[in-house]
């Protein structure tokens, strides 16, 4: 049952990722990416990480992708590439480099040391919210605080970047 679920979800994830890259409409790309995120969330549940599976669905597939769709609709950027290609060789070059990268990663993954998995019984509780929060607020307290500062900086930066200059000019004139 687990094997069946893994293979089905993996096929859906890879197919959605390919469709995301290949579809010419950016809105379709975003929807395929949401499908990919949801299937990866199922894989998280399979890997005994229920908390992160839930976070994946709410934050990634929910908040981040809504932001993406919002910006696509705002800019009207569904079909930005209809014009002719300016640098003709970049598409084939990108494909060749991608295949080379996949071959490289695959080679390393197969030549590297075989991972010896810990016994399943040890791994039952590692993804529970209690386990994660206990570690997050003791061992990883400093990175947690740094993340909060990072999010604050991101909020300030976003406001600064999207502020219209016209408003500043009007204020200086008055």
């Amino acid at each position: 049952m687990e094997t069946f679920l893994f293979i089905t979800t993996a096929i859906v994830a890879v197919g959605a990722a390919l469709a995301m890259v290949l579809s010419s409409n950016a809105v379709h790309s975003a929807l395929f990416l949401i499908l990919n995120f949801c299937s990866v969330a199922i894989l998280y549940f399979l890997l005994r990480a229920p908390f992160l599976g839930a976070v994946q669905v709410t934050v990634y597939a929910g908040a981040i992708m809504v932001l993406f769709l919002f910006v696509i609709m705002l800019l009207g950027a569904e079909n930005a590439e209809l014009g002719e290609e300016k640098i003709g060789w970049q598409k084939p070059a990108g494909l060749v480099l991608g295949v080379a990268l996949l071959a490289e990663i695959g080679y390393v993954a197969y030549r590297g040391t075989t991972l010896i998995d810990a016994p399943v019984a040890d791994a039952t509780n590692i993804g529970a919210p209690t386990t994660i929060s206990a570690k997050l607020f003791s061992t990883y307290l400093l990175p947690f605080e740094v993340i909060s500062i990072l999010l604050l900086i991101a909020v300030v930066g976003t406001v600064v970047l999207t502020r219209r200059r016209v408003v500043a000019r009007e204020e200086s004139q008055s």
Binding site: V55, A80, L102, V120, L161
Partner: protein, 100 residues
Amino acid sequence: MISTNAYVLLSAILFTIGVVGVLVRRNVIVMFMSVELMLNSANLALIAFSRARAESDGQIITFFVIAVAAAEVAVGLALLVSIFRAKKTTNIDDVNTLKG
């Protein structure tokens, strides 16, 4: 139980699709979504390693990666909006003012 190698291989495939997306597509928003795909595949590998070692550290790092990705998306999309205001385009090949 699915082996960790299978998860790492799936993660590698998703990462490569993300890289190809960044290299091949010219729409800035789709390129940005490909970057998200790459971050997500790294998360998948981290969680697979976390289960293989029966430690929750990998999941906590994934949690941090998700937070950083959220911040990155907010700033990146703000940059896109401001580029669009200045250049009226979302095609990356049209943004070549720095080209010598």
